[in-house]
């Protein structure tokens, strides 16, 4: 009834190609943006920022990055944790060696450095595929964590091997360190998320994205029609690495503030982000967000319901959480292998016909 293309006339190529062709979607998008930028900063407190919004936003960037590599280009990667660590340590080294430069640029440069590292570890993808590539990226994961643990230069020779984010400001407002306001850290991450999503969306529907998808669907066919696999794969690794690096830098500097590489960027992190895009939907920008939201929110919701409302012992809730998350992942893979994004697509299709499906 409200959700339809009819009556919404496109008079230019630009409007015809827009991300949200349906007016209702566009309104929804602008509402979400307005709420995110104009409402939430005024009501957010430390708990909501640190327990829900910051992890959601930061994991959303990581999921976007991994989705470009796995979902769009079809190159399976299990090295996300290691690449996030690269972003985090790059950010730390930049923050401490060049304190006069704005943290905003440090995060971007950290993304760039991670992109480069990701390309290096992506080179084997030209020769190996599928499971074998997954193993190669797994090696990257272990190597990088080992490297940051082993070489004291990366953690400025601190006694414990921990890295700590010093206070850095944007427009005079602290966004890292202990004295941050919830709204400042939230807005700082939100800006990165929105820009990342815009870049990802436009890359994936442009020539680059089509090349990636061609490679994903059948690399030999893609090569025959003129897609250079070297460039396509390497660019996917670079772009993916950039996003993952940005998320790692934010994860360390804004969200946690102090990081220990083995604990924060272990193999669990790689799997977590991979689960996010699988549950959210491979090859979908919306899916990256949905998956991140699902896996960040679910444990918090279960904890609030179990411990705070029902008053169950914390260990039982923690165990139940593992059971429920695991069960839901299996359930999702059986019922909807294309993830939350596909559910959303189906809903949209139904909504177009609603309430007269015939």
């Amino acid at each position: 009834m409200f959700y339809r293309e009819a009556g919404d006339f496109k008079t230019s190529y630009a409007t015809d190609n827009q991300t949200f062709p349906i007016k209702f979607d566009r309104l929804g998008y602008f509402t979400v943006m307005a709420v995110a930028f104009l409402v939430i900063p005024f009501i957010i407190n430390d708990y909501w920022a640190n327990a829900i919004f910051l992890p959601f936003l930061i994991y959303a960037i990581a999921a976007l990055g991994l989705n470009i590599l796995v979902g769009y280009c079809g190159q399976v990667s299990l090295g996300t944790g290691g690449f996030m660590a690269v972003g985090a340590y790059a950010c730390y080294k930049l923050m401490t060696s060049m304190p006069e430069v704005n943290i905003f640029f440090h995060v971007l440069i950290s993304g760039g450095i991670t992109g480069l590292v990701c390309v290096i570890f992506g080179l084997p993808s030209l020769r190996i595929k599928g499971f074998y590539l997954a193993v190669a990226t797994l090696a990257a994961q272990f190597f990088l964590v080992w490297l940051f643990n082993r070489v004291p230069w990366f953690y400025n020779y601190s006694a414990s091997g921990q890295i700590n984010a010093p206070e850095r400001t944007v427009f005079g407002i602290p966004v890292t360190g202990p004295n941050t306001e919830a709204w400042a850290t939230y807005l700082f991450c939100l800006v990165f998320v929105v820009v990342s999503a815009l870049i990802a969306r436009n890359l994936t529907r442009g020539m680059a994205g089509r090349k990636w998808m061609a490679i994903r669907d059948m690399d030999i066919a893609a090569e025959i029609i003129g897609v250079n696999p070297l460039k396509a794969k390497i660019s996917a690794f670079a772009v993916s690495g950039f996003f993952v690096g940005v998320s790692g830098a934010l994860f360390f500097s804004v969200y946690l503030g102090a990081v220990e590489v083995g604990e924060a960027f272990g193999i669990n992190k790689s799997f977590l982000v991979l689960f996010m895009i699988i549950i959210g939907g491979l090859g979908s920008i919306f899916g990256s967000f949905a998956g991140a939201a699902f896996l960040v929110l679910l444990p918090v919701v279960l904890k609030v319901v179990g411990v705070d409302w029902l008053g169950w012992p914390t260990d039982i809730v923690a165990h139940l959480q593992l059971v429920i998350v695991g069960g839901l992942i299996i359930l999702f893979l059986i019922l909807e292998p294309h993830g939350l994004a596909q559910l959303w697509r189906v809903t949209k299709q139904k909504l177009r016909l609603w309430p007269f499906p015939h």
């Binding site: 430390d46 327990a51 401490t96 414990s160 503030g257 012992p313 923690a318």
Partner: protein
């Protein structure tokens, strides 16, 4: 305190603080994951002592205590979530029982004006209260532990360990790396050879490390392990027939559950400690009467008297005593986190006090001051008797090499102060 933009205006109007009903003690525990074996007894001891205070004395100074338990799973992200979700409820003091979470919370608690007590773990240089205003690690630190272990070796070797080979098997994390610097200094001073053997999280795989020990045949092995790593290490040591009496663990590597799996082969294994072991204290009679028999014991109730249970209870006792001190200083029963901090800084534990609490000679007597948040750093040694399944104190609480440790604390805390522009806490 930090506020949202909107509530900043609101709270400015309501200058008077909220009325607090209970004294809130959050317990960031972990009863799940690879470190649960150590997390459960500690959390039980911590919870039971506050239950005991409520049941027997009606709380602290007549105000009931309330324990907020939050499961961290030894994971820093969950630790942050726990911290944020409990700090709004009037939390008085945090005890995260994780060095990783401690590092994260040091700046946060300072900004939020809530004290943190990292008893025998965390960042050692936080002992310098002039820099770390809200972090306390009395009655001892890892560096005291490292020095205590070396002192003990000196003692049993008639003061000479020159040329001896000592290997450190450590959890490859901030926690395990903590003693390295001290041990390096001490190896220069006493002329022993130190070799470092890192074990990666969670520590189930230690074959190569123990193979190396078997090859190099060090005279002594020190261990900084936690959780499942301890049991595996002791089992591996038994497998290569390393003499157990030459194997010394830090206080986090010396509980019943660490040595039980190796059975009789673990007999003679030693561990450091900063408090007493066993259930031979009057407080346990009260614990039985008011908590266990009343069916109010935390968890499964099967940990009472274990090393880590005692430690959790000791931590709770120190927190309760600090709260009492704070009540006295500020003349009010409903103390805030900020008052609690003052109480911790003015805490004085004497032998009479411990005896009156039913815990005579349970730990060292000490006084906290603004400059010294680390306490006296007295370290004792316990040994495992596999036949009777008991730990016993074989070396009394003795002083450690504060000359070496003090210099290291000074250097590390000054560099932290410089990095973060921290003004002096004591000379305001």
């Amino acid at each position: 305190m930090k506020k949202t933009l909107a509530t900043a205006a609101l709270t400015a109007l309501m200058a008077a603080g909220p009325v607090m009903a209970d004294l809130v003690f959050p317990s960031l525990s972990y009863r799940t994951g690879p470190y649960a074996a150590g997390g459960i007894p500690f959390a039980d001891g911590y919870a039971d002592y506050f239950t005991l205070l409520n049941e027997r004395d009606g709380g602290i100074g007549g105000v009931k205590t309330k324990l907020l338990e939050c499961e961290t799973g030894y994971n820093t992200e969950k630790g942050v979530e726990c911290y944020e979700s409990t700090k709004g409820e009037g939390a008085l003091v945090y005890q995260p029982l994780s060095t990783g979470i401690t590092y994260q919370l040091i700046p946060k608690t300072t900004a939020d004006d809530i004290p943190m007590h990292t008893m025998g773990y965390g960042r050692t240089s936080a002992a310098n209260g002039d820099v770390f205003s809200h972090t306390f690690n009395y009655p001892g630190t890892y560096w005291n532990g490292a020095s205590g272990a070396v002192n003990y070796l000196l003692e049993i070797n008639d003061g000479d360990i020159k040329g001896k080979k000592i290997a450190l098997v450590y959890h490859n994390s901030a926690y395990g790396k903590e003693p390295i610097r001290t041990l390096e200094e001490l190896s220069k001073k006493h002329g022993f050879e130190l070799s470092l053997l890192p074990v990666d999280h969670p520590g189930q795989e230690q074959k190569s490390q123990w193979l190396q020990i078997r090859r190099e045949k060090p005279d002594n092995v020190l261990m900084w392990g936690w959780g499942v790593m301890n049991q595996v290490a002791i089992q591996e040591a038994a497998n290569i027939r390393f003499p157990m009496e030459n194997f010394i663990g830090i206080w986090w590597s010396g509980a019943e559950h660490d040595v039980m799996p190796a059975g009789a082969k673990a007999n003679g294994y030693k561990a450091l400690t900063f408090h007493n072991v066993g259930r031979d204290f009057p407080v346990f009679a009260d614990m039985q009467k008011y908590v266990v028999d009343a069916g109010k014991a935390a968890g499964a109730g099967d940990q009472i008297g274990n090393v880590l249970y005692n430690r959790g209870m000791y931590a709770a006792m120190l927190a309760a005593e600090a709260a009492k001190t704070a009540q006295e200083i500020h003349g009010t029963k409903d103390i805030t986190a900020s008052m609690m901090r003052d109480g911790m800084e003015a805490l004085s534990i004497t032998e009479e006090k411990m005896a009156s609490l039913g815990m005579p000679n349970f730990g060292p007597s000490f006084e906290v001051s603004c400059e010294n948040h680390g306490g006296p750093g007295l370290v004792g040694v316990t040994q495992w008797d596999a036949e009777n399944k008991t730990w016993s104190l074989i070396s009394d609480f003795k002083a450690t090499d504060m000359e070496v440790i003090g210099a290291l604390i000074e250097a590390d805390s000054t560099s932290y102060a410089k990095e973060n522009n921290i003004a002096s806490n004591c000379n305001k």
